[in-house]
């Protein structure tokens, strides 16, 4: 097993197109019930989307507690504004748009008050999230930690729109169409953002190729 293997989880990021369309009808019914005051219906919506929401938030902030707060805040915002949801887009798109906007706000706040997100206090938690199934040698651990820092720094350096398009495509496996809906932009624009993000990351992380 190589040191890189713990990071090779791209396969897990499968397309959500089919999954989202299969739950969409159920979502609509639950939204209608929740809008009429049925709290259990909203709890069911949370149950359906919480893991996905958490993982998207985690991809943006790379911190377990922050990801939890961000995804919970997105559900809270959805709950408060559910009466304004008119069904023009699917609940799935509407909700993840709220979440992505919160994640981008979070990144903006972080830029205003920069903290070293890769400091020693956070690292153990970060490392736990990439715990390999087999034990690694100290050298491998050091290398993995260095690479983790470089990857995070490279992602942080991307402009917000490029990072959003890249995370939603590369990490979450959303289709270009879904990303365009979430970002409220044209599919062509998403393709451009994605291409630029990939090019920038390829240059930043050339040493790992």
């Amino acid at each position: 097993m190589t040191v890189l293997e713990p990071f090779l989880v791209c396969g897990a990021a499968k397309s959500l197109q089919d999954r989202s369309s299969s739950v969409r009808a159920g979502d609509e019914e639950l939204v209608a019930l929740a809008q009429s005051g049925n709290e259990q219906a909203f709890e069911q919506l949370v149950e359906r989307h919480k893991q996905k929401a958490y993982h998207i938030a985690f991809d943006f902030c790379r911190d377990r507690e922050d990801a939890k707060d961000l995804s919970q805040d997105a559900f809270l915002k959805a709950f408060v504004n559910l009466k304004n949801f008119d069904g023009r887009s699917s609940f799935y798109t509407w909700f993840y748009r709220i979440l992505v906007n919160l994640c981008l706000d979070y990144k903006r706040r972080q830029k205003r008050s920069p903290t070293d997100s890769f400091d020693e206090t956070l690292e153990p938690q970060m490392e736990r999230s990439h715990e390999p199934s087999q034990p690694r040698s100290p050298d491998q651990q050091v290398l993995a930690r260095q690479m983790s820092r470089r990857v995070d720094a490279a992602l942080q350096a991307l402009p917000a729109k490029q990072r959003t398009a890249f995370i939603l495509k590369n990490h979450q496996g959303l289709s270009i169409k879904e990303i365009a809906e979430l970002m409220q932009t044209a599919e062509g624009t998403v393709k451009v953002h994605l291409h630029r993000a990939v090019t920038a990351l390829r240059h930043s992380l050339a040493e790992f190729v």
Partner: protein, 167 residues
């Protein structure tokens, strides 16, 4: 490390090809191109090696999700408690309602000042007696003048009596 540059005009398509987002006609032509272009093939290999490295898996334990649900319920409950009163009172201060209330108030004042004029006058006196009531003060004035005439006459008589002297 020196990165090989792919054909510039195909770079975006190579990214889309990597993610399986290139539509069939363009995909077929790119596949044909790849069979003869070492740089573009190397670029694709780079992407396949590099991009998965940027993904970080995080699989929180079951207890995390229990806390997650509990915390979210608590957040929703506290938001509902906070928002109840402001929502009720806030409804009265919405711009549309304020404008409506203002318009109603202005109309009410205008109606009171125009149509309502005289509404509060007493209706104890029948309408046919109103003319009489209007004349009555004048009649009282006449009585006053008559009284004054009588007094004048009394003065004249007294004067005449004084001139004749005591009988």
């Amino acid at each position: 490390m020196q990165l090989l540059s792919p054909c510039t005009n195909l770079e975006e398509n190579l990214v889309l090809f990597h993610y399986g987002e290139l539509p069939p006609p363009e995909r077929f032509s790119l596949e044909q191109h790849l069979s003869g272009c070492a740089n573009c093939t190397a670029y694709l290999k780079d992407l396949s090696a590099l991009l998965p490295l940027t993904v970080k898996a995080d699989d929180p334990p079951a207890t995390f999700w229990l806390d997650y649900n509990r915390e979210l319920r608590h957040k929703i409950a506290s938001t509902r408690d906070k928002s109840w009163l402001p929502a009720k009172f806030g409804a009265f201060f919405q711009p549309r309602l304020l404008t409506a209330f203002g318009a109603i108030a202005v109309i009410a004042v205008a109606l009171t000042l125009t149509l309502g004029k005289g509404v509060w006058q007493s209706r104890d006196v029948p309408r046919e007696d109103e003319a009489l009531m209007e004349v009555l003060p004048m009649a009282e004035d006449l009585d006053f003048f008559k009284t004054m005439d009588v007094l004048d006459n009394l003065d004249v008589l007294e004067f005449m009596g004084n001139q004749r002297g005591p009988a």
